[in-house]
Amino acid sequence: MTPRVTLAMAARVLAQLRRDHRTVAMLIVMPALLVSLMWWMFHESPGTFDRIGGPLLAVFPSIIMFIVTSVATLRERTSGTLSRLFTLPMAKLDFLLGYALAFALIAVVQAAVVVSISLYALDLDIRGSAWQLGVVAVLDGVLGTALGLLASAFAATEFQAVQMMPAVMIPQLLLCGLLLPRDRLPGVLHGVSDVLPLSYAVDAVSGVARGNGFGDGAGSDALVVAAFIVGALVLGAATLKRRTA
């Protein structure tokens, strides 16, 4: 792995995104728009929005980042540019980290927008600090990116990559505690939710929202999310093959 190559990758991915206004709009505006939709839906019962608003800040960014990343890297494979990169001095981790870094920058902007709108426009009532909420929202966006990079290694076409969304993200969405608190899930499902990354993403956000700062439980959930990010990237590098049939 070489920092020069990783940074060149990240800069290139950002240069491509700059040309693709619709994707940038999708990445930055969509989570905020979806949270606003939920706020409107529960307009008559603001208590409900305060309960689910936090988890939504984890769920929407990670799902949207997942979709965009998994297709973006697949496009690289089907266009032949991945073959070229793999005949050049590019480590597999350079490739993955380049994408992760570029999308992490997007995640920062995305989190800033969705957190500001939630707190200041939609009056989401949280007890924790706004910056910690922001940090966790960024982590959750990066989690979506890392999982998307890993998933794209298992998809052979863009068609298959899109199908990874329902296969990988929806079960996590159902079990992460957004629809039903995790401790009220049947025992087996609770056990399953304990090993799913999105559960910790939601726990971290909910923790901060409830007023448990990083020193008080939310920090360890955030660390678990960070560990999942590293794990997904390392696993992604291990499954990405230079030589193919």
């Binding site: 240069a15 266009s79 032949g80 590019m90 193919t244």
Partner: protein, 240 residues
């Protein structure tokens, strides 16, 4: 004796449950331009991918610049052009080349040199997906020229180009070879054969001939390469 830039011995490649290369062997002399000719589907791209280290399930020996094919140390010494242009359509020619130069760790001054080499100066700041097919494949070729690689492996680089441009590119290939680079250029167009120092004729995963153009014509007793190819196929069928 000049050392070979590429040496293949008994190369067998299996894809899925089909064997697509059945024991191919040849050498590429350093500083030569070799044409890899054969019909579409005969295994040219598979052989090329084995040489640049992207093909799985390769047995036999593939030695490139004295190292086993695919060695990490080869990655800044080989230029590879895939059959479909492998550049980013949403970036300009120059942005593409700057990126590949950064990956190679060479100065972006080289970018202008390769743009001129493929005659894309007037389109350097156009997005690649707005270019014609021929311009796009030249952009892809330009990326492979960055950093003056010792070995250039080009998979059908002249498809769809007009005759003048094709002639210019072949002149470029020979200039590169004169400067010491070794080139392997695949094509399914037989009339490009005369432009090569040496020819590998391939069909159904086997080499039918490995000779100079003149040597091939003399040994088969025909006056053009296409006819020589057909005669070799007939002879082989007769020998069975």
């Amino acid at each position: 004796m000049m050392k070979n830039a590429v040496t293949c011995r008994d190369v067998v490649v299996v894809r899925g449950d089909r064997e697509v290369l059945h024991g191919v062997g040849f050498g590429l002399a350093t500083g030569s331009v070799t044409g890899l000719l054969g019909p579409s589907g005969c295994g040219k791209t598979t052989l090329i991918r084995a040489i640049v280290g992207l093909q799985a399930k390769v047995t036999g020996t593939v030695e490139v610049l004295g190292l086993p094919a695919g060695s990490p140390k080869l990655r800044d010494r080989i230029g590879y052009v895939t059959q479909e242009p492998s550049v980013y359509g949403d970036l300009t020619v120059r942005e593409n080349l700057r990126f590949f130069a950064a990956v190679l760790g060479i100065s972006s001054g080289d970018v202008d040199r390769v743009i001129d080499a493929v005659d894309l100066r007037s389109h350097a700041d156009d997005r690649v997906d707005r270019l014609s097919g021929g311009q796009r494949s030249r952009a892809s070729l330009a990326a492979a020229l960055l950093g003056n690689p010792e070995l250039l492996v080009l998979d059908e680089p002249t498809v769809g180009l007009d005759p003048v441009l094709r002639r210019d590119l072949w002149e470029l290939f020979h200039r590169l070879a004169d400067n010491g680079a070794t080139l392997l250029v695949s094509s399914h167009v037989m009339d490009e054969a005369v432009r090569c120092d040496r020819l590998l004729l391939m069909r159904e995963g086997e080499l039918l001939a490995d000779d100079t153009p003149d040597g091939l014509l003399a040994s088969v007793g025909t006056s053009d390469i296409e006819q020589a190819f057909l005669t070799l196929i007939d002879r082989k069928a007769g020998a069975r």
